[in-house]
């Protein structure tokens, strides 16, 4: 019989290790957190990823640019439009072509709608992580309205592949403007409900305030971007640092807080939804006329290296293309925001109770397929 090995060291310290995941509701996907506990206190966490690694970067080396675009939807599926836009912008920069103003406006509106939809789903799931089941129904009820708008114009609800190098797959539906304006009006009355339900809730505040504090220095050091980084005062909004598409034309505030705890990461996203509605409102009535797709004979990036940064709902997405001049890239790299955001989890949850771990990982808003690619 095989001898059972007992880690003497762990026993003396009264520490034990449990695996959270790979199939666990609070990890929001297939992620395994090897968690070392002493009593109820978290000592350290080792994240194990790769359960949903599909080799998107390797696959893309054999696909043409319009083909590999469809794989980017499957990374951060809640920011599908923004991922498409990143590849489209990178290829357009490489080819030195400019899309029409109409395309830029529509791209920005779609990107902001996906940001709102993504934050709605995050809010819904975050409440549920903390035991407030009602938020899930409220969040999904309102997200459905955005998905209906997407469905009408792009033909699909979650992964659209609508923004392509050279423009858009098709023109927007004639109802698009009216439905988006109706949605803005509707959602502005619903956002205060979100605050009533969760933001002002005493139990919710006790669970989140002062929990999982991430300092600004650590946020920069670990490369934590997006709302999670801005909750710590790290000015990392690519829409402000390197504006693309129609962002130079609109006015909006970059939401930052200095505190860096779970509650302020939550507040950043709540306020960002208001900002996104403002951005859409500035653009929706002024969509100019113009061509939807550039007449490109062949989509080939000239020989060279290209990098494009965009702001997804979760942070900075980078697309790095190395081209030999052919129709497909020699190497394509996606710098995904969730990859860097994940590994800060050990730093900010060590020393907290295991129940707080769920709140902290929820506030980082991780999408696992984006980590593994």
């Amino acid at each position: 019989m095989k001898e059972i090995l007992v880690d003497i060291d762990l026993k003396e310290k009264e520490e034990y290790i449990i695996n959270i995941g790979p199939q666990h509701p609070s990890t929001h996907g297939v992620l395994r957190l090897e968690t070392c506990l002493q009593g109820e206190e978290v000592k350290y966490i080792i994240p194990h990823c790769g359960y949903i690694h599909r080799g998107i970067e390797k696959m893309s080396e054999k696909l043409t640019y319009p083909q590999l675009l469809h794989l980017t939807d499957r990374m951060d599926y809640l920011s599908a439009h923004i991922n498409n836009e990143a590849v489209a912008l990178c290829v357009e920069n490489a080819m030195e072509v400019q899309v029409s103003e109409r395309v830029k406006y529509i791209r920005t509106i779609l990107a902001e709608l996906s940001r709102v939809a993504s934050h709605q789903l995050w809010w819904a799931a975050f409440g549920m992580d903390l035991g407030a089941l009602t938020t899930f129904f409220y969040g999904l009820r309102d997200r459905e309205k955005i998905l209906d708008i997407f469905e009408e114009s792009t033909g699909s609800r979650l992964i659209q592949s609508f923004i392509t190098p050279g423009g858009l797959m098709s023109d927007i539906h004639p109802n698009f403007q009216k439905r988006v304006k109706d949605f803005i009006k509707y959602f502005r009355t619903k956002l205060p409900e979100y605050d009533d339900l969760l933001t002002g809730n005493v139990i919710f505040r006790e669970r989140t305030q002062g929990i999982g504090i991430l300092s600004k220095e650590d946020a920069i050091d670990y490369g934590v971007t997006g709302p999670s980084g801005r909750g710590s005062g790290f000015h990392c909004d690519i829409r402000k640092i390197a504006p693309y598409s129609a962002y130079p034309l609109v006015e909006f505030n970059e939401i930052t807080f200095a505190e860096g705890d779970t509650y302020h990461r939550y507040l950043v996203r709540m306020k960002e939804m208001w900002e996104s509605l403002n951005i859409i409102e500035q653009l929706i009535d002024n969509i100019p006329q113009g061509e939807i797709m550039l007449n490109l004979k062949a989509i080939k990036a000239p020989k060279g290296d290209y990098y494009q940064r965009v702001e997804t709902a979760r942070g900075e997405l980078g697309v790095y293309i190395v081209s030999d001049g052919g129709p497909s890239p020699a190497r394509i790299k996606y710098r995904s925001p969730n990859f860097s955001n994940l590994f800060v989890l050990n730093k900010i949850s060590a020393g907290h109770k295991i129940a707080d771990l769920v709140a902290i990982s929820g506030s980082l808003d991780l999408v696992i397929p984006d980590i593994d690619r």
């Binding site: 990823c49 790769g50 690694h53 080799g55 970067e57 390797k58 054999k62 920069n93 650590d218 920069i220 050091d221 670990y222 490369g223 790290f234 000015h235 990392c236 640092i241 390197a242 060279g304 290296d305 290209y306 990098y307 940064r309 900075e316 980078g318 790095y320 190395v322 020699a330 190497r331 790299k333 710098r335 990859f339 860097s340 590994f343 593994d372 690619r373």
Partner: protein, 151 residues
């Protein structure tokens, strides 16, 4: 700082650094032995303050495995790309920068996993996506497996 100013600073600090081909970002090509010195200089210098490593990756090119360091400043927002070319594809070794930027620790694990580049003095260098018993490094151009269709 403008691109010219950074170029001048780097030329004074490390005359061996060569300009690179990338047009969008200011690029320097350095030897594996010099990367830590230049990275540390760009991070510590108050004029450049490259405190945010936003990407670290590699590419398998004809001249060897290229390791690419994309860094920017959270204060000034100017960016630099540093390229290290490792001509020896059988034993590619480059010193780690994970003590300068914590983010590099996980990027380096990813590059090790997919390209087999060894990062010297890395605190925890093991595969990150693939299983520990995986054979080969998939993002290399000479990688062969049994189930990928050749076109």
């Amino acid at each position: 700082m403008s691109r010219e100013d950074i170029t001048e600073l780097v030329a004074r600090q490390l005359p061996e650094a060569k300009p690179g081909p990338c047009k969008q970002l200011l690029e320097f090509i350095v030897d594996a032995g010099h990367i830590r010195m230049l990275a540390d200089y760009l991070k510590q210098n108050p004029l450049t303050k490259m405190d945010y490593l936003f990407c670290l990756t590699a590419a398998d090119r004809k001249d060897g495995l290229n390791v690419l360091y994309f860094m920017t400043s959270s204060v000034y927002h100017h960016s630099v790309l540093i390229r290290v070319i490792l001509a020896d594809k059988a034993h590619p070794v480059v010193p780690t920068v994970s003590d300068l930027w914590k983010a590099a620790e996980f990027y380096e694990r990813e590059v090790f996993d997919l390209f087999g580049i060894h990062f010297e003095n890395h605190p925890d260098l093991r595969r990150i996506f693939l299983s520990d018993d995986w054979v080969g490094f998939p993002l290399r151009k000479d990688y062969k497996d049994t189930f990928t269709l050749e076109r």
